[in-house]
């Protein structure tokens, strides 16, 4: 079993800064944006992107968190997951451009669940997807709009994202399973 670090703190900061700029560019400014992080690591990433957007564009972007546990299609295949709270910014998401933020994009099933969850909360004008690491192996027709890093990986490998708010360190590592 070997672990290899693929992104360090500076790389992550650069990737998030670029994502923030790309979001502003594609949205033609910060108006109507809402960032929703998917727990757990997506939430601090969404907050950082919002802070970077604020620094560049000078206006505050609402940030919330969206738990997708109750919408997953693989609940019966794993031990019971404990849901996390969902918090939607006061203005809601109707008519806004929602940017979903998550750490790793893999099968795409979490994002499918997130789209269902959003549908139960409101009707945004558009939903975009920002991802720190895209490791491939999609099982659904879902693609990210903003990617920090494309990381080709084997299915058996584990991609691990650490963020300082949760894990005390900023790092993306990849680990080959011993089997």
């Amino acid at each position: 079993m070997s672990t290899r670090t693929v992104l360090h703190q500076a790389d992550i900061t650069r990737a998030l800064t670029r994502i923030a700029h790309e979001i502003l560019e594609s949205n033609r400014g910060p108006d109507g944006l809402v960032l929703l992080g998917i727990p757990s690591r997506g939430v601090p990433l969404a907050e950082r992107i919002a802070a970077l957007i604020e620094r560049v564009a000078g206006s505050v972007v609402p940030v919330g968190q969206l738990d997708v546990t109750m919408y997953r299609d693989d609940l019966s295949r794993h031990p019971t997951r404990t849901p996390r709270p969902t918090s939607i910014p006061a203005g809601g998401i109707d008519g806004r451009t929602v940017v979903l933020v998550d750490d790793v994009l893999f099968s795409g099933r979490s994002i499918r669940a997130a789209l269902d969850a959003i549908g139960d909360i409101g009707r945004p004008a558009a939903v975009r997807l920002a991802i720190l690491v895209d490791r491939g192996h999609r099982e659904l027709p879902i693609r990210p709009d903003f990617v920090g890093k494309n990381l080709p990986s084997a299915r058996s490998e584990r991609v691990n994202v650490s963020v300082s708010e949760v894990d005390g360190i900023d790092e993306v590592s990849i680990r080959a399973e011993a089997d």
Partner: protein, 322 residues
């Protein structure tokens, strides 16, 4: 979680987990679309051998909000009145594809028998058995107290130091029993107030203080005062001379209600006997949590059904091969 049979064996961590999931469920009930797809394709049977409206409807609402299919079975007018045994009834329901059975039974221990006999594979939720336990009621009471105390900051917290006084027919009350065990696990201090004839024999071993004088208990200024219903259907002996005497000595009348500290909440599991154990002034005040308890009951039961049914099922492997 495989079954929910009682609160006596529920640990603090386990109880807090259920309450925290219930917080998430309560959040979803404030949305425009209250229905979640989580338990789609699962079948839940409400197996009620005793009359109940509130608990049955509450479980029904919980199951439906989680998109499970629900079958209501009440013993009255069913094959049970023709003499069918609990075993045969339960096995019949499982043959129809029940994944969980919510059972209320007049005999204490019936849900445990159902869960441990090997008759059925489905998860069992105790919705009240005899004078034994009513765990989801205690969980929703604790949930209500925690929310009133901590508001949006409730997650992960217990009820350490919370003083709860439970008044009424403790002898016949499964609600009181479940509350005593759960509140003790959560660190609360429980005082029971009852006529001496309505105190169980083994009560000295309970983690609760016994008082016979309601005014004394009210003077202590508890954080929560829970009035139990006088269960006339279980009053087979002469436990007190008449209802007026009970109301005068152990009922929450307007004078006692005004003597309570301003932040004490008044709880009642319902249905209320107004004028007997609780006066209208108390029942209709903003400090009464009766309707909150009903709303919270749905969230707590959603949490229990979620934890029971959403994860991988221990017996599911051989089922899939079939």
């Amino acid at each position: 979680m495989r079954h929910l049979l009682d609160t006596r064996t529920l640990s603090r961590e386990h109880a807090i987990r259920i309450l925290d999931v219930a917080e998430d469920m309560a959040d979803t009930q404030e949305r425009e679309v209250k229905k979640l797809p989580t338990l789609r394709g699962r079948t839940i049977v409400n197996l009620f051998f005793e009359d109940s409206t509130r608990t049955r409807i509450s479980f029904e609402a919980a199951a439906k909000r989680l998109s499970a299919d629900l079958i209501n079975f009440s013993a009255k007018g069913s094959s049970v009145s023709k003499g069918e045994s609990l075993q045969d009834t339960a096995q019949t329901l499982e043959a129809m594809g029940a994944d969980a059975v919510v059972v209320r039974h007049g005999a204490s221990g019936a849900p445990r028998t159902l869960a441990s006999s090997g008759w059925i594979d489905a998860g069992v939720v105790n919705a009240g058995d005899g004078t034994h336990e009513h765990p989801t009621q205690a969980l929703l009471d604790a949930f209500t107290m925690r929310r009133r105390r901590y508001g949006a900051d409730s997650r992960g917290r217990d009820l350490a130091g919370h003083r709860v006084t439970i008044v009424g027919d403790v002898l016949h009350s499964r609600v009181a029993r479940s509350n005593v065990w759960l509140l003790d696990a959560l660190g609360a201090e429980v005082t029971l107030v009852a006529p001496p004839t309505l105190v169980p024999q083994d009560v000295t071993r309970w983690p609760a203080k016994i008082v016979f004088d309601l005014d004394e208990a009210i003077a202590d200024g508890p954080e929560a005062l829970m009035m139990l219903r006088i269960q006339t259907e279980r009053m087979t002996g002469s436990f007190f001379p008449n209802e007026r005497e009970y109301a005068r000595l152990w009922g929450l009348d307007p004078v006692r209600f005004r003597a309570l500290p301003a932040d004490t909440i008044v709880m009642h599991p319902g249905p209320m006997n107004r004028g007997l154990e609780i006066c209208a002034e108390a029942a209709d005040s903003t400090r009464a949590t009766v309707l909150e308890q009903v709303a919270n009951g749905v969230s707590v039961r959603m949490a229990v059904l979620y934890l029971l049914l959403a994860g991988e099922h221990a017996g599911s492997d051989d089922k899939e091969i079939r």
